[in-house]
Amino acid sequence: MADMATTESVTAEGVTEVFNAAAVKRLSTGEPEWLRECREHAWSVYERTPMPNTRLEEWRYTDLNKVLQLASLRLAEVEVAPGESSAWPARLHETMKQDREASGHIVLIDGHVVHTDIDPALAEQGVILDSLHDALGLYPELVKEHLGRVVPAEDGKLEALNMALWADGIFVYVPSTVRLELPIRVTRWISQSGAAYFSRVLIVADAQSQVSYVEEVISDDFNAQTLKSSAVELVAGDGAVLQYVTVQRAGCGVFVHSAQRTLAERDARIDTLNVGLGGSVHRVDLNAKLLGPGANSEMLGLYFGDGDQHFDFNTSQDHTEPNTGSDLLYKGALDGVSRAVFRGIIRVLPGAQRTDAYQTNRNLLLSSGARADSLPNLEIEADDVKCSHGATIGELDTEAKFYLMSRGLDRVQAERLVVLGFLGEVLSRLPLGGVIEKVTGAIEEKLSQPG
């Protein structure tokens, strides 16, 4: 068992020439008092929290001390991003071109919002789509109510670092009863090799409103480790519907950490889809809280690893009230010497009767070097519940492959179809415009790469 004494005695672990109190102070210059305090508090939590190690159940299969080189990172440089779209990289334009209709767009380059647009009719109804930075000045009360409260610094070492050092982010607010028919589309481009990016997303959907948000992260390959840290705070009021999709297509060398929490009030629905395709290490910590009767959450995940990519999804479904539901499906295919970890837990607290909670993780191992670990957990303290989980790890369905080959497809094509069919189940559960095509295209691209 873990010997905690040694780690507890170490203070200020992870404080570097770049990540230190002076950086926090510099970032908070000109910010409102409450936010400065918030950052300082987060920094103190960061300093006193030991770096997670593999003795912690949540980090059992991802050794942060090995895979994250904090000391070599520098903070992303500010104000180098071009505001003019003509100066944007070609790949950013290409990616955006694939997007279909939208209620609005945000483009971030190197952590800063360089473009925002929103359907004027929606703006008139009070819908807000803005950089977090600007929103602080324009809607201080709205931001203050939630920022850093949904994903607080106390959640963990990386969450604390994000709260202390975030540079910018996205704020979405949808007033009560306003329903967005089309998604908000966000594209992030990062270009600085060896940099650390800290950003936050805060989406608040008031009672009976509806909004969907689709984000894509792209970058080139980097020689030096580059950190992309984000904290995602999703709040749905009574009867609201909130859909959050993030497609991670970063380049080699990127360490992606995303801390996400969803708060669904009475009869609200929050659906999430995490797609992991790029990066070197991709870790998601997702907690869904079903806070009011009738609240529901669909939690979807899809990952395709090759090379030596490492994915780690750590999810939890918290049922605290009666009559709530959650349904999780994470599916992945792994090639090369890539590795995936899924650790999920359903918690049904005493009194949360008539909970329906499900959890499924399925993995396809495509090569002999690939590896998958799956830990689907249940903690049930109410009796009138329907809860189940399932996990499978296996090889490609050879019968399906041979069937396709008998119809004239070659081996590569047949395998590709079987993998796409396997993963496609996840996408079909959240059919937002353009997402299926975009993700399918990205997987095909990966499948066609040699080795």
Binding site: M1, A2, D3, E57, P350, G351, Q353, N363, L365, L366, S367, S368, A370, R371, A372, D373, S374, L375, P376, N377, L378, E379, I380, E381, A382, D383, D384, V385, K386, C387, S388, H389, G390, A391, T392, I393, G394, E395
Partner: protein
């Protein structure tokens, strides 16, 4: 069945093993664990030097390991361990004839039904009372074929080479804190050897009885099933109910050699003041077949995960686990299977019932090492919750390093459906009886594997426990 009584009352009244026998042990070590106690145990057993060294090293390992932070609540355990007797010697030497066992001890086992059972079906019987085996016998026909069924101490004395070849190699001292503790203070348990090709058609059975208050029992069992042999070993455990806690920590090591088949059945029915922390592991060689049938009905807290290490091609491991947790009980049980060779197969089926404030936890590991191609495994866990205060958890670990493997895990949690109950009661069946029928149906896949006497006992227990549990 008595009417108008609370279920809690029934639980206590009906734990039929709650009786204390007045006996005076021939020796009792001081309370608590110390080097002195370890030396006394070794001296009393007249052990060779290497075993004393083994024990003392184990004590150091035990002391260096922190208390586990996972599993059940072990917060109060250190205090309990300071107060218990680690070694109580009930009589001077072990008996091979039932008539020679002291009357009081005999009485105890008569109440547990041992001589009767022996006459009827068993190939051999062992009985442990406090720290040592007081009786061991094996049918002559098996003895003639070279079967060894003895106390672990006699195994060390009479078969030193076979003993030393395997002892402590399957579960190393440092495996966990409690395997280290057992390695330091082990006393009692069985030594079993089934020679090549010998097939026992009836089970060997060992009974473990804790009688006195504040007792710690540390059985150590070593079983070697040679190539092509077949056998079945059953252990049962009971103790009287005391207001203070008792402690039982066993280490069970098993080797199932090429093409052999072995089944190990546990019916653990300790009283509800017992900590039961046990390490059980089997090495399963080429083409061999190992089954754990693990029934946990008693104890305050049980932490026990029988495991199969599938080391040879085509080896098969099976774990059937059934747990019942009533008020004040936590069964943290499950199983582990390690696939370390090609074409190995395994299955884990776990069923648990939690009632009142009881908590049942499934904890398991399924690992497929690189190179264990064509491994197949399936895990199924079903939990039944009787009351809204009951709790169940499922913590499976699945680690796969080989792509040419197929593994699956499924778990479900349910309570007794109102439709099921309504259907049965509308047919004129009383509600309690209907509950018991549904629970019996739930555990049937495992209960049917039990020896008949235990299956009957289990059914009776369910009927009693379901009495008054409706509503």
């Amino acid at each position: 069945m008595p009417q108008n009584e609370t279920i809690q009352g029934l639980d206590l009244d009906e734990y039929k093993y709650d009786f204390v026998t007045e006996t005076e042990p021939v020796y009792r070590a001081q309370r608590g664990l110390s080097e002195e106690v370890v030396r006394q145990i070794s001296a009393h057993k007249e052990e060779p030097e290497w075993m004393l060294d083994f024990r003392l090293k184990a004590l150091a390992v035990y002391e260096s390991k922190p208390m586990p932070k996972w599993g059940g609540d072990l917060d109060g355990l250190e205090n309990v361990l300071d107060e218990i007797y680690f070694y109580v010697r009930p009589q001077d030497r072990m008996q091979h004839s039932w008539d020679d066992v002291p009357d009081e001890i005999k009485d105890t086992f008569e109440k547990l039904g041992i001589p009767e059972a022996e006459r009827e079906v068993l190939a051999g019987v062992g009985a442990q009372y406090e720290s040592e085996m007081v009786y061991h016998s094996l049918r002559e026909e098996w003895e003639k074929q070279g079967v060894i069924f003895d106390s672990i101490e006699d195994g060390l004395k009479n078969h030193p080479e076979l003993f030393r070849e395997h002892f402590g190699t399957i579960i190393p001292t440092a495996d966990n804190k409690f395997s280290a503790m057992n390695s330091a203070v082990w006393s009692g348990g069985s030594f079993v050897y089934i020679p090549k090709g010998v097939s026992l058609d009836t089970p060997l059975q060992a009974y473990f009885r804790v009688n006195q208050e504040r007792m710690g029992q540390f059985e150590r069992t070593l079983i070697i099933v040679d190539e092509g042999a077949q056998a079945h070993y059953i252990e049962g455990c009971t103790a009287p109910v005391y207001s203070t806690e008792s402690f039982h920590s066993g280490v069970i090591e098993i080797v199932v050699k090429k093409n052999a088949r072995f089944r190990y059945t546990t019916i653990q029915n300790w009283s509800n003041n017992m900590y039961n922390l046990v390490t059980q592991r089997a090495i399963v060689e080429e083409g061999a077949h190992m089954e754990w049938l693990d029934g946990n009905l008693g104890s305050k807290l049980t932490m026990k995960y029988p495991s199969c290490y599938l080391m040879g091609e085509g080896a098969h491991g099976e774990i059937l686990s059934i747990a019942y947790s009533g008020d004040g009980q936590h069964q943290d049980t499950g199983g582990k299977v390690i696939h370390a060779a090609p074409h190995t197969t395994s299955s884990i089926v776990s069923k648990s019932i939690s009632k009142g404030h009881g908590r049942s936890t499934y904890r398991g590991l399924l690992k497929v090492h690189e190179g264990a191609h064509h491994a197949r495994s399936n895990v199924e866990c079903d939990a039944l919750l009787i009351n809204d205060t009951s709790r169940t958890d499922t913590y499976p670990y699945i680690e796969i390093e080989e792509n040419d493997a197929n593994v699956g895990h499924e778990a479900s949690v349910s309570r007794i459906g109102e439709e099921q109950l309504f259907y049965l009661t509308s047919r004129g069946i009383a509600e309690d009886e209907a509950m018991a029928m549904i629970v019996r149906g739930f555990i049937e896949p495992i209960a049917k594997e039990l020896p008949l006497e235990y299956a009957v006992e289990l059914n009776r227990l369910i009927e009693l426990e379901m009495e008054g549990s409706v509503g």
